[in-house]
Symmetry: D2
Subunit: 331 residues, 4 copies
């Protein structure tokens, strides 16, 4: 049962309400004035609630497994602010960059070029969760620091993947969007910790996760207090062997119908092949996604990871131009 | 080993060549003057070939499981002629109509309305392969006859699904494109028979077929002599429960890269839900498909099958308009 | 609504009953005296039924998608008679033989050896549905005739796969159990035709079919009049690359709980690897299956198809011995 | 390149060797006298190795993605010692207990009863990774302490699931086998930390993990120094809706062929249904697994989690007896 407070409720009143529900199993939520209240996880009679809780605006039930991320909780699209840049609610972002951060020069070159193409958010892996312990595991902490420095120089924002709760302070300090990768979509302890931050979280869909499981993972973050979740479809595992994964475009309109969170598409991981990146990106855009995240490298053949799915600058620029044209005629 | 004949090869020369290879395991193919020759399925030394076969233009090996459907066999896009209407090689067709043919009035109304919207090919099921023997199995032969009559009146073409080799003559007489459904994608006996016709075949991808298996099913048709195959992606089975199937848009650029056959998209079966039809159709178009096939009904709630995934006229018209806009800016 | 007739109902009475229901959508079933009656596919009030239909033993509703194959329709296990050999209801059969029939000598040698090991039913493919048109497609009609001759000499029964409704008379004449392969599990026209025969049908589960779809395919056969259906689990498609398919042992106890039909296991196709055949066969036996079907060849390395998953005589004998031991201690 | 040291190599010699390879990318392994050495992750010429490294017993290459867990690295079965109880190499353990620890009385009753049935290792969840944040998340730290106390009283061992690297010291102190659940199979940071312990690790297969990915996750633990890994097949995700997951029995003989690690089966999670537990357990045993782990509860209907897949004492005892009989006749 969701109890929303009136906008003008006083702090004392909120305190008294929370004191009353403290004997129940509850979540106290505060997503700004119009979205403050209490979620009671157990049955309490409406009479008692209305008698004991004051400053109530409305009481609603959300009969879906996911609650805070649902349209029932919040009807208007959530817009995520990454500095001055916005994602969601009609705001589209093209995110690009190398799979892994390799060194400052390579990174600056990629970031600066993409910035020139209108890209405001740069991706770069510092810690890489690899299927084999013998694959390149990323450069680590130092990569984050250098990316931060370059980003500040270029006035772009940084997204990078976290792989351990031990790194939360580090990521909170150095990156602008913290990415949770496919393999950690159900690392619930990590999600709970990220829910305590205010930082935007980019949550990638698990390899064989259903939409419901995907939203429930987002729910772990939002129910802990952080509404700034960007969903990311990056391909699911299917029987197809010619692609690395299979982009599920249906998830875009589906998520938009049932959730207020923005959703972007990662056509690089979805395909694993540079020549499929553009058609998949355009497909995602036409299906209504709020952004794309693409691996870009000036010399993909020399990249330390995922070179085969990285596209070059020229191709990125062309793709970017087509995205703009589609968005112009459709939205 | 593929032996292509010169364009001006004489009939006698062809006959002598075939007489020579008759002791081998071979296929004699004839897809028009520039695509005539012999496919030898067993190893024969090039010396012997060049000595015994005359009028050779070129000899090539195709080291892929699929041969006739590959770009190696035929580099230029195949264009399928359905009467005056074309599919493939830049020609796009919107196909619409009811899931099942119900009665002449309903069908004429749908077909006439769609014709007004610029649709030239109408779909309509006469024989329905249903998971349960107790579901509506289609009206059968009579549906084909009525659809033919209406189509001729309206100057549109008809596509309908075949479910048995017993019906081949019937379909060859009454429909313009013979559809092979998902469940029959690997009904190889049916495919072999359809390879003997000249009629266009619309081959739907199997529920969990890989792209290679899909192309090998097309290969069954083409290697038997019928090049007029239109591939159709209609969603694959995944773990997702909120949609009926999952549209695999990657298959479009993938197929276009390795095969010369056109490929269209069926967003109705792919989603199972009327409100996902448009975004999936647009995604398919942006990914480069050669057409869409959509279930349209004026009263979906009364349809005898698949009502939930059928869209109404107004929605079709809007979607159609968006498709045109995307194609204009992209292609 | 299932209306069962009393055992002593007269033919005239049955005729009158059928005359009455002829205006409805119905199935008249006759599986022997205690299982005769009418299945009404549409709602008719019980009052009218009891007034108009005579000789009623009981009326039941079966609220599952599958009806005739359910335990609700028939509680006791169905026992299939293949000549004097029985499958189901505690009767276990080991079926063995080559993937494809190759020639009389090889076949007789395999069949005779297996007969010595206590095998009564021999498998052998005459028509092979292969993913590629360029793979060996089987020897065809003549294979059936020779297998019949050898089988009669050795007093064994023959199971072989049918791939086309064109071959129904042929199979009805020459084989003892007609196999429907994985790729034809949803070839409903074929299933309907097989439902008109009395011959046992071995129905293999489709590559990605659910248990419900599997039972509904069996329902197509049984609702058309043929109760003699043996289900066969042969592995489903999963993401695993080290095996050809993945044996789903759960389907055995699951099917036994909800259906009266026997179910056997094919560990050869399930694994695609000769050294996994024994452990999978034993797993199936322990899970309660009614038989196994295994590819056996004296020289697997020379087999024209599926050599890698065929086991040799010695291994078959050892496995067979272990199966007997397990069945002795468990059942 | 794996360089194995001679058994009688001196500590100084090892130190010198390690000093030499310190400029390379290497792993120094020590799994007891006969399994000590260096794994060089980069190419170094054999001549240099043989010149600079002393006390070499043998040098081998392992051309598989997984190295330390492969039969090439260690041919004999690994036997895991859990106190006096052994798993692997012919040693079989039946593990039972409640899904979640609920309270001391319930747990002691279950543990004591199972101990009487010959069970030496008791399972019990303290931290539960649940798909929804609103499901019961386990009692936490205190559950571990009470389980430890009860286990010591009854002379049994405890297995419990870890969900965060924050809890490693806690688990190292209180439990005998640390379980890594399905959702954390690719939580590589957690695996690396567990590789630093000596404690046995029970690693569950991911929901849609291939066997190669499963072994590579084990490789993360073993390559960090901990050979005590027990693999656990607990069902994979398939399209089947009648079971929670699908037990993949093939993985048992497959893993035994390519790896020296023991593998057990969890039929409770594999099926999600109490009446499938026994047939699946028996199937696993017949396929050659080294143990089973089963959810047992005296009052499943009152269990705080997974009641539907828990079996009662009587059923456990009967199943246990059947397992013994099968193992007697087969092994």
């Amino acid at each position: 049962m969701f109890i929303f407070f009136k906008e003008n409720i006083s702090c004392e009143c909120i305190e008294r309400n929370i004191e009353f529900v403290s004997k129940f199993n509850y979540i106290n939520f505060d997503f700004g004035k119009e979205k403050r209240g209490i979620y009671l996880l157990q049955d309490v009679s409406k009479e008692i609630i209305q008698e004991k809780i004051s400053g109530i605006d409305k009481i609603i039930e959300i009969n879906k497994p996911y609650k805070f991320v649902s349209r029932e909780f919040k009807n208007e699209d959530t817009v995520i602010n990454v500095g001055d840049f916005k994602i969601g609610g009609g705001n589209f972002q093209k995110i690009g960059g190398p799979c892994s951060f390799e060194n400052e020069n390579i990174f600056r070159n990629i970031a600066a070029t993409l910035k020139n193409f209108g890209v405001n958010i740069i991706r770069g892996g510092a810690f890489k969760p690899r299927t084999s312990p013998y694959f390149f595991q990323g450069i680590g902490e130092n990569a984050l620091k250098v990316m931060r420095k370059v980003a500040d120089e270029l006035n772009v924002k940084i997204v990078s993947e976290i792989v351990s709760i031990d790194h939360i302070d580090l990521f909170n300090e150095y990156v602008d969007i913290i990415q949770v990768g496919t393999r950690n979509m159900q690392n619930y302890e990590l999600l709970k910790h990220l829910g305590k931050l205010k930082k935007p979280i980019l949550l990638k869909r698990g390899l064989s996760a259903t939409v419901e499981e995907f939203l429930l993972s987002a729910e772990y973050i939002v129910s802990n207090g952080n509404m700034n979740v960007i969903l990311c479809e990056r391909g699911i595992r299917t029987f197809e062997k010619m692609t690395r994964n299979t982009l599920d475009v249906s998830v875009i309109p589906l998520v938009k119908k049932i959730s207020h969170l923005p959703i972007i598409v990662d056509p690089s991981h979805a395909s694993g092949s540079y020549d499929l990146v553009e058609p998949l990106a355009l497909a995602g855009v036409s299906a209504g996604c709020d952004g794309i995240m693409v691996e870009v490298h000036d010399e993909p053949e020399k990249a330390l990871s995922d070179g085969n799915q990285s596209i070059k600058f020229k191709r990125f620029k062309e793709m970017s131009c087509k995205i703009d044209k589609i968005r112009e005629v459709l939205f």
